[in-house]
Symmetry: D3
Subunit: 150 residues, 6 copies
């Protein structure tokens, strides 16, 4: 994990970065259920899951989101903080054994309504499976200091 | 965990439900870091955290979201599914030892643009700490079958 | 998780409730061994297990009990507490991939020898696998307040 | 972990063995809740717990049982198997930071009604805290082969 | 777990002990990554692993070492402490589903340069898989009190 | 996590890199015991630990090693692999609440006796606590491809 100050001016519209991948295992399902308390049979009961349209257990949406975001946590930017997410969508199911990675595109930049010395950067996050399909999408809103605060 | 079919027509605008509470422990911080791979020192390094404005380690936003949502997972509604979240905001930090619960308000109802037999319900989710402060807010979008599909 | 006061008088002899199911995974075996410190090769060593009559790893009895009981933890009854268990029996082995649920029958009611304002309720707990076989049975003894304490 | 064949005849009425100790941590509370799905606020919500007679979170009974039994898992006896438990009682609460060990007394021996080549041994298990108080008691029933099967 | 004082004089050159076995599961991979923060795709990404010479995910070296050593932790020797390890070598890969045990040979004994009342004992540790192949080797250096300190 | 090919020629003798820090929590103790099966009371029993010279629980050596090494896992070098470790020493105890980071110095370079196209690089690893004291040291031996293989 490295630290690097990346200012508002440094974010380049349209630039893209891609993370390493990670296979989502049955263990991750169990850990996430135990961590959050969500033991819905869609995630935890293989017999029940056979009777659903998916035919198997599906990952918690909050897990795909948390791991998808976690995959991007490689560089500390001390001049930015996370404001929130817009348009978080569960696009496709994730099954045990799927391998996901995350693709980040700088999708928008703008003023921050409350802080003149900072701007807002929107990172379009797409979590993608081993078949190249987007399984989750979300717009991450960062508040980033401007290098030139004058 | 019980199962109950709640149709689009059954959701009452303005109705509120509140979950039981849960104390966020140092263990939860460690579990979430290990689950997501996000070991940023803001969450994991007590010495570093002393040098930040908060003066102590702060919870991962994705953890507050996942546990906050997990607290609501008590009733299976087989005629609804989760479409996604809008306006997810990290309003205040959560520290080790804080106790959170979630408050759900039925905030909006409308047609589903793609499915005439279903509607959209917006649940306003607020995760609240032991001092009554909102620490996280998000709009959960449910797609729910209509009882009367004609 | 909801809270509801159910008094001694409210428990109906012979009434039955059934939980949702949960698949017992290899992960659960590993978590339980690590949680309890019981790393006996019957649970942990697939090569050794091939040489036993079962031919594969079997779940810890304490795990089947803990998860079987955990499945019932959906409704808080503030006027009852758990006194203990009688006749806990490990009836059949549970293997990786089995799916269990718990069936609770109100099997007996009686006076509490020490508390005139309360009675004892015996819940017959049966943990049942995907083939409908009982794998664990136990009698749970509850001490429950009487509505009419006069 | 060693293996040693201890036959029915070898169990000596009244003999006692004592395990090493283990401190029950907040982590164990979180792990057990996540493992079993029992997130009752008595175990998980420090604010709620302040309003109860104990004034703090109490350990799950199933956890004290599982860890108390796990502490005894140091010697594999290939000629015995666990039949079940009688009179499992939650005698006193266990709090975060308590240190427990288990004391096993050979309390009874007798014929096995179904197997002439084996007998039943009752191990009285007492889980004891750092103040020497029994917090959990149970009678463990073992079915053990007889050395002399004639 | 038992306690037994084994003095420097008691260690017999060439004597060997062997532990019980343990199957290394996908869960162990996930737990170790989460515990250490090492999410390298060689351990975590099944798709990437297919493109490597091994063709599948391989265990972290630190995990094979930690579990291999952990398997030996059955007897507390209050008159010895661990000084360190020499020549720790990752000899062969460990894959999901492999079963390992550890074999300890007393390989050397000598004076302790700093403590006349103690000596050094070298335990040759070999972690061995289900095909009898050594997967990890290391020399464990113990400092052990002498019975005869004169 | 980034990937970068660093060849034998690129390693500079004496160059140093330092990782971010991480606080070792009681949770890490519990996770490591459960992961490895080492429940020695020196790590797990706070009452016992009070009677030892350290006066409190000490971290498993294998955990300090695994986490100390894990902290360095930020950059994938596809032209290097880990051969093993020499002179692994447990220099000072690590207690609950200590914060560690790892300091890596390129300490030696040399030919690889078996591979002419590669060389050996020795990384001196020092795990350091919040008081600047070395708690663990080890020499990590890497086998690294030469850029110039002629």
């Amino acid at each position: 994990m490295a630290e690097q100050s990346i200012y508002f001016e440094d974010y380049e519209l349209g630039s893209v970065r891609t993370t390493t991948g990670r296979t989502i295992t049955e263990t991750d399902f169990i850990v996430h259920a135990g961590h959050t308390g969500d033991f819905f049979p869609h995630h935890m009961d293989a017999e029940f899951a056979k009777t659903t349209p998916f035919g198997q257990r599906v990952a918690h949406g909050t897990m795909v989101f948390s791991i998808g975001v976690g995959l991007t946590a490689s560089l500390i930017n001390p001049v930015a903080f996370s404001y929130g997410y817009d348009r978080l969508r569960f696009v496709r199911p994730v099954f045990i054994g799927d391998t996901i990675h995350t693709c980040i595109t700088i999708a928008a930049k703008g003023d921050d309504p409350k802080r003149s010395g900072a701007g807002r950067v929107v990172e379009r996050c797409e979590v993608i499976n081993q078949r190249g399909e987007v399984v989750l999408a979300a717009d991450h809103i960062l508040v980033v200091e401007r290098r030139d605060k004058a």
